[in-house]
C-alpha cells in the first residue's frame, strides 16, 4: 500500500513535469522541469531496488548533464518563436508516433513475457544484497573487455571534439607578460616630424 502511494505520487510528478518540459515558454524552466522528471524517475527506480542506477541518474544527469544544459540555455540566445513554429503542423504526426509507441508498450508489458514478474513481483533478496556490487562484479569480470573498449570510444570522442573545435593559437587573446615587459618605446610610439600648419580660418 505504502509503496503504491509512493509510486503513484512520483509517477504523476514524472508525467506532469515531462509535460511541462515541452509546454512551458521559458527554456530555463523547461530544463528545471526536466531535472524534476529525472528526479522522479530515480525515485521510481529506487522503488524497484535499483539503487545504483537511481543514484547514478541523479549524479550524472541532474548533477552534470542538466547543469551543463542550463548553462548552454542561458548562454545562447534561443529564438523560441521559431522553435515553436512547426508545433501544430507536426502535432498529428507526433501524436501518431506517440500512440503507436504507447500501444506497443501496452502489448509488450501486458504480454506473456512479463507474466512471471507480474505474479511474483520482484525477486526477494536478502538485506546483504547490493546491486552496486553485483553490477561492478559483472562489469569488471564478464564485461571487462567491452567496458575497456567503451572507455577507448569515449577517449576518441574527447580527442575528436577537441581536434574539431579547437581554434588555431593565434586567435586566443591570452596575454604574454614576457612580451609586455620587454616592449620598448620605439615599438609603441612613432614620432612624426611635420611642419606646423596655420589654421586656414
Amino acid at each position: 500500500m505504502f509503496e503504491q502511494i509512493i509510486f503513484y505520487s512520483f509517477g504523476t510528478m514524472l508525467l506532469l513535469s515531462a509535460l511541462m518540459v515541452i509546454s512551458v515558454r521559458n527554456p530555463v524552466y523547461a530544463a528545471l522541469f526536466l531535472v524534476l522528471a529525472f528526479f522522479s524517475t530515480s525515485a521510481i527506480w529506487l522503488l524497484l531496488r535499483a539503487e545504483f542506477l537511481a543514484i547514478v541518474l541523479v549524479l550524472v544527469y541532474v548533477g552534470a548533464v542538466m547543469v551543463l544544459f542550463l548553462f548552454v540555455v542561458m548562454m545562447l540566445d534561443i529564438n523560441l518563436a521559431r522553435l515553436r513554429a512547426g508545433f501544430m503542423r507536426y502535432l498529428p504526426a507526433g501524436a501518431l508516433v506517440a500512440l503507436v509507441l504507447a500501444a506497443s508498450m501496452v502489448l509488450v508489458v501486458g504480454g506473456e513475457g512479463f507474466n512471471e514478474i507480474r505474479e511474483s513481483g520482484l525477486a526477494e533478496r536478502g538485506p546483504a544484497y547490493s546491486n552496486t556490487a553485483e553490477l561492478g562484479e559483472a562489469l569488471f569480470t564478464a564485461y571487462l573487455y567491452p567496458l575497456e573498449i567503451a572507455g577507448a570510444i569515449l577517449l576518441v570522442a574527447i580527442i575528436a571534439a577537441i581536434a574539431l573545435t579547437q581554434r588555431a593559437k593565434r586567435e586566443t587573446k591570452a596575454q604574454n607578460p614576457d612580451a609586455q615587459v620587454a616592449v620598448r618605446r620605439q615599438d609603441r610610439v612613432r614620432l612624426v616630424k611635420m611642419s606646423s600648419e596655420r589654421d586656414s580660418e
Binding site: 569480470t141 564485461y143 571487462l144 567491452p146 573498449i149 577507448a152 570510444i153 577517449l155 576518441v156 575528436a160
Partner: protein
C-alpha cells in the same frame, strides 16, 4: 570468472597504451610538422604488427570471458591491417604536410581506428563487434572532418556520420532481435541455438536482414552505397586513402564473424541476399564509374564494384570462398591505397590532382610514375600477371566450384565493362598531351614507398601462391 589468456590481447593492449602515449607526446612537442607524434604512431603500428606475429598460434583461442577470439584469420588480418595502416599513415603525412593541414590528432585518431579494426577482427561476441565498429567509425568521422576549412570535407563528414549512425542503428536492432531469439550475445552460442532448430523462427531471419544491412552499409554494397562516392570525393585524399584501405579488411572480418561464425546455420538465407547485393554492386559500381570525370569519385564507384566481387566469395558459402574473399580484400586494400597515393603525389598545395585530366600525358612528365599507375590500373582491372587478376580468379574459381556459374558469368561481364574506365586512365597517361610539361614534384621517400606499393602488386602477382595459401590456411578447420 578470472581474466584468462590475457597474453592473447597483447597487440591490442600495446596499441592502446602507445596510442595514449602518442597523444601525450604530440601535445607536448612543439614540432610544427608533428614529427615525434608521427614517428611514435608508426612505431606503435610496427610494434603491434610484431606482437600479432608473436602471439599468433594458428588455432582458435578465447580470452576475456569468451568475448575475444584469436584464430588464424584474425592473425593474418591483424597483421595486414597494421602494415597497410603503416603505409596509409605515411601517405597521409605527406598529403597533410603538402596541404598545410597537419594536426597531431590525425595520427592518434588513426591509431584508435586501427584499434577498432583489431577489436572487430577478433570479436567473438555481438557486443564486441558493435563496440569495435563504433570505435573505428567514430575515429573515421573525425578524420574526415579534420580539415575544417574545407566545406566539401565537412559535408562529407556529416553525410558519413548520419548514414553511419543509421547503419549502426540497423546493426544494433538486428543484434537485439538475435539476442531475443537466441538468448545469447556470444557468436558461438548464437550459432549453436540456431543449429539446434531445424526450422528457426522467422524472427531470426528478420534479425539477419538488419545485421546484413548494417554490414552492407559498412562495406558500401549497393543499395547501401550512397555515402561512399560523396565521402571519397569530399574527404581530404589522405583520409580517403585511409578509409579505402584497412577498414575494408575490418568490414570483411565483421561480415565473416557475424554471418559465418554467428549466423552460419542461416547460410541459405543470407546467401541469396548477398547474391543480390553482389550483382547490384558490380553492375552499379562498374557502370556509373564510366561516367565519372573526378578520379576520386571514379575510384569510389570502382570500390563498390570490388565490394560486389568480394561478396561473391561469401556467396560461395564455403571455406574456399571465404579465403578467396579475404585474398580479394587484401589485394583491394593494396591497390586502392596505391591509387589514392598517386593522386596525393600528383597534387600540389591548393590544387588536388583529382580530375582525370590531371593524368593526361603523365608518361611524358614522368615515365616511372606513369608505369606505376599502369600497374595499379591493370591490377584493378584484373589483367594478368598482376595481383588483381589472381584475386578475381580465386573468387571466380570458388564461385564456379560452388555451382553458381551464371553469377560468375555476370561477374566476368561486369569486370570487362569495368576494364574500360581503368584502361581510359592508361590511355590518358600514354597517348594524350600533358597539360603541364614539368615533372611532378615529390619527395624521394614518397616516390620510393609508392614504388614499393606498386611493385608489390606485380611481385605478389607473379607468385600469388604464398598469400593464397595463407588465406586458405585461415579458413581451414
Amino acid at each position: 570468472m578470472s581474466i584468462d589468456n590475457l597474453s592473447l590481447l597483447l597487440p591490442e593492449i600495446a596499441l592502446l597504451t602507445l596510442a595514449c602515449a602518442t597523444l601525450m607526446v604530440d601535445i607536448f612537442s612543439n614540432d610544427p610538422k608533428h614529427g615525434p607524434g608521427y614517428w611514435l604512431a608508426q612505431l606503435t603500428l610496427l610494434v603491434t604488427a610484431v606482437l600479432v606475429l608473436v602471439t599468433y598460434t594458428g588455432d582458435s583461442q578465447y580470452a576475456m570471458a569468451g568475448m575475444f577470439v584469436s584464430d588464424a584469420m584474425s592473425g593474418l588480418l591483424k597483421f595486414a591491417i597494421c602494415i597497410i595502416s603503416l603505409f596509409a599513415l605515411f601517405y597521409s603525412r605527406e598529403y597533410l604536410l603538402r596541404h598545410d593541414i597537419i594536426k597531431g590528432e590525425y595520427f592518434v585518431l588513426g591509431l584508435f581506428a586501427v584499434l577498432g579494426m583489431l577489436v572487430m577482427v577478433s570479436a567473438n561476441n555481438l557486443l564486441t563487434v558493435y563496440l569495435g565498429l563504433e570505435l573505428l567509425s567514430l575515429s573515421l568521422y573525425a578524420m574526415v572532418a579534420i580539415h575544417r576549412d574545407s566545406s566539401s570535407a565537412s559535408e562529407a563528414a556529416i553525410k558519413y556520420f548520419v548514414l553511419g549512425a543509421i547503419a549502426s542503428g540497423m546493426l544494433l536492432y538486428g543484434i537485439s532481435i538475435l539476442y531475443g531469439v537466441t538468448g545469447s550475445l556470444e557468436l558461438g552460442a548464437v550459432a549453436q541455438v540456431l543449429e539446434g532448430q531445424s526450422d528457426y523462427p522467422t524472427l531470426a531471419i528478420f534479425g539477419l536482414v538488419f545485421v546484413l544491412i548494417g554490414v552492407a552499409f559498412k562495406l558500401g554494397a549497393v543499395p547501401f552505397h550512397m555515402w561512399l562516392p560523396d565521402v571519397y570525393q569530399g574527404a581530404p585524399t589522405a583520409v580517403t586513402l585511409f578509409i579505402g584501405s584497412a577498414p575494408k579488411l575490418a568490414a570483411f572480418a565483421m561480415a565473416i564473424r557475424l554471418l559465418v561464425d554467428g549466423l552460419g546455420p542461416l547460410l541459405p538465407d543470407w546467401q541469396q541476399m548477398l547474391m543480390i547485393l553482389a550483382v547490384l554492386s558490380m553492375a552499379t559500381g562498374n557502370l556509373i564509374a564510366i561516367a565519372q570525370t573526378n578520379i576520386k569519385r571514379m575510384l569510389a564507384y570502382s570500390t563498390i564494384a570490388h565490394i560486389g566481387f568480394l561478396l561473391l566469395g561469401l556467396v560461395a558459402g564455403n571455406a574456399g570462398g571465404y579465403a578467396g574473399a579475404m585474398f580479394y580484400v587484401i589485394t583491394y586494400a593494396l591497390m586502392s591505397m596505391g591509387g589514392f597515393a598517386m593522386i596525393i603525389l600528383l597534387g600540389r598545395k591548393g590544387a588536388e590532382a583529382d580530375q582525370l585530366d590531371d593524368f593526361s600525358g603523365l608518361a611524358e612528365r614522368s615515365p616511372w610514375l606513369a608505369f606505376l599507375m599502369l600497374i595499379l590500373m591493370f591490377s584493378m582491372a584484373g589483367i594478368p600477371p598482376f595481383l588483381g587478376f589472381w584475386a578475381k580468379w580465386f573468387v571466380l574459381r570458388e564461385v564456379i566450384q560452388a555451382g553458381f556459374v551464371w553469377i560468375a558469368l555476370l561477374a566476368v561481364a561486369f569486370a570487362i565493362v569495368g576494364a574500360f574506365y581503368y584502361l581510359r586512365v592508361v590511355k590518358l597517361m600514354y597517348f594524350d598531351e600533358p597539360r603541364e610539361p614539368d615533372e611532378p614534384q615529390c619527395s624521394t621517400p614518397l616516390r620510393t614507398v609508392l614504388s614499393v606499393n606498386g611493385l608489390s602488386l606485380l611481385l605478389l602477382g607473379l607468385s600469388p601462391g604464398l598469400l593464397m595459401s595463407l588465406c586458405m590456411a585461415a579458413f581451414s578447420p
